[in-house]
């Protein structure tokens, strides 16, 4: 499984959506149920999957699918 597939799988599981829903508009404002618990659940899963420890500010930045990819790039996770 590629890193992108791993990331997509996490998003799909946390938000109970199909992979096709993941696009540029998949963010905190547009996704029903994107609350702090979901966001923390998302970041925890990402940390476990990629074996990284996100800084607090990066966790706060995890407010969209695009941002998630940008944050992972900071940790040298190639997508």
């Amino acid at each position: 499984m590629t890193n992108l597939e791993k990331l997509n799988k996490i998003f799909c599981e946390v938000f109970s959506v199909e992979e096709s829903a993941l696009n540029n508009n998949f963010d905190k404002c547009n996704v029903e149920g994107w609350d702090s618990v979901r966001q923390l659940s998302l970041t925890s899963s990402v940390e476990d999957e990629f074996d990284i420890m996100l800084d607090a500010e990066d966790i706060l930045e995890f407010t969209s699918y695009d941002n998630a990819k940008a944050v992972l790039a900071k940790y040298d996770i190639a997508l």
Partner: protein, 352 residues
């Protein structure tokens, strides 16, 4: 920079009381079974005990306090200090600690104080009472910590309601020049006060009809200005950054090896996401970090005392322990406390 070193004070006993009304996540009105399952798995709080509306934190604390005094065999006349840590006291005035002095039949010479410091309440009380006992002029203190936090919020606020449980706990401290110092590192960041607050009901914003007007903030967050609120991401950001620095500082300053010198790390049971993160960030040995949030939820200031009662009671009773406690909460305030205990009285948790 204050670093509290409290001499000559021993912990003699601890216990806790909860209302006999367990509520599973799926029983909460705003959760579907699927949502409850997700909440249980991520936030980790599967059960909480909720007091009926006619039971106050003081009632739960009264039960814990009375049982603890009896278990220790302490005469009521011997109690010099009574502290009550809660953000859900009986009235706005007078202090609930004064009412409890009367209800418990403690002598009129008892020094009483309310400590409305939220999730750090237990640590504040140990600091205040400990420093009062340290000189030996006062010999015994009873610390009562409890809340009925569920009622502080809006019953339809899905972001806050499922996190909390109700309880009352009691801790007994006594002057004893033979014991190790209690060490506390305390910190305050008042600039973050809006992360955890009740906007209306004080004198800045007294209760008016507007205080009861509910607003829908989306994602199941419905509340009015009279209701306590949590800004989840702000609290999380605070909780995963500040307390670990304080814990690390305590370990370094005391020359403690986290793997060898500490028996248990007692972390405020805010929720599993936060506690897990602290464990991970500090690389704490997981077997030394007990959890009880799955059973009790976030008990605010009583969290550490309930951990002592529910998770490590047998060991506290039978052998000396080195405990490193971490609390964090409203204010925003946070602290780390090093507690070297001698065998003490730990009574079973009571359900009333």
């Amino acid at each position: 920079m204050a670093y509290w070193e409290i001499k000559n004070v021993a912990v003699r006993g601890v216990t806790g009381t909860v209302p006999n009304h367990p509520v599973k996540s799926a029983e909460l009105p705003y959760f579907t079974q699927e949502e409850a399952d997700t909440f249980d798995a991520t936030v980790g709080i599967k059960n909480r005990y909720i007091a009926p509306n006619d039971v106050c934190a003081s009632d739960l604390c009264l039960d814990a306090g009375e049982r603890l005094l009896a278990g220790l065999g302490w005469e009521k006349e011997s109690v010099d200090v009574l502290l009550f840590a809660s953000v859900t006291g009986d009235y706005k005035t007078p202090p609930t600690s004064a009412i409890l002095q009367d209800r418990m039949g403690l002598p009129s010479s008892t020094f009483v104080l309310d400590v409305p410091m939220g999730c750090c309440g237990c640590m504040y009380c140990i600091n205040v009472a400990g420093n009062m006992l340290s000189a030996g002029t006062a010999k015994r203190a009873l610390i009562l910590v409890g809340d009925t936090a569920m009622r502080m919020g809006n019953p339809n606020d899905k972001s806050r309601g499922p996190l909390f449980g109700d309880s009352g706990t009691a801790l007994a401290l006594e002057y004893d020049p033979t014991v190790a110092d209690i060490i506390i590192d305390f910190n305050t960041m008042g600039s973050g006060y809006q992360a955890l607050m009740t906007p209306h009901g004080g004198y800045r914003h007294p209760v008016t009809p507007e205080s009861f007007v509910e607003e829908d903030f989306g994602n199941g967050i419905i509340r009015a200005p009279k209701d306590a609120l949590i800004n989840g991401m702000d609290v999380f950001s605070f909780a995963i950054t500040k307390p670990p620095i304080s814990v690390k500082k305590m370990l370094e300053k005391q020359g403690l090896d986290k793997d060898k010198d500490v028996d248990y790390f007692l972390v405020h049971q805010a929720n599993k996401l936060i506690v897990d993160r602290l464990v991970k960030k500090l690389k704490l040995p997981v077997e030394k970090v007990p959890y009880n949030l799955q059973e009790f939820g976030n008990l605010g200031g009583a969290s550490i005392l309930m951990l002592m009662s529910s998770e490590i009671g047998d060991e506290l009773t039978s052998r000396p322990l080195t405990l490193l406690c971490s609390s964090f909460g409203l204010g925003l305030t946070w602290g780390t406390m090093l507690l070297n205990t001698q065998p003490m009285t730990v009574l079973p948790i009571n359900k009333i």
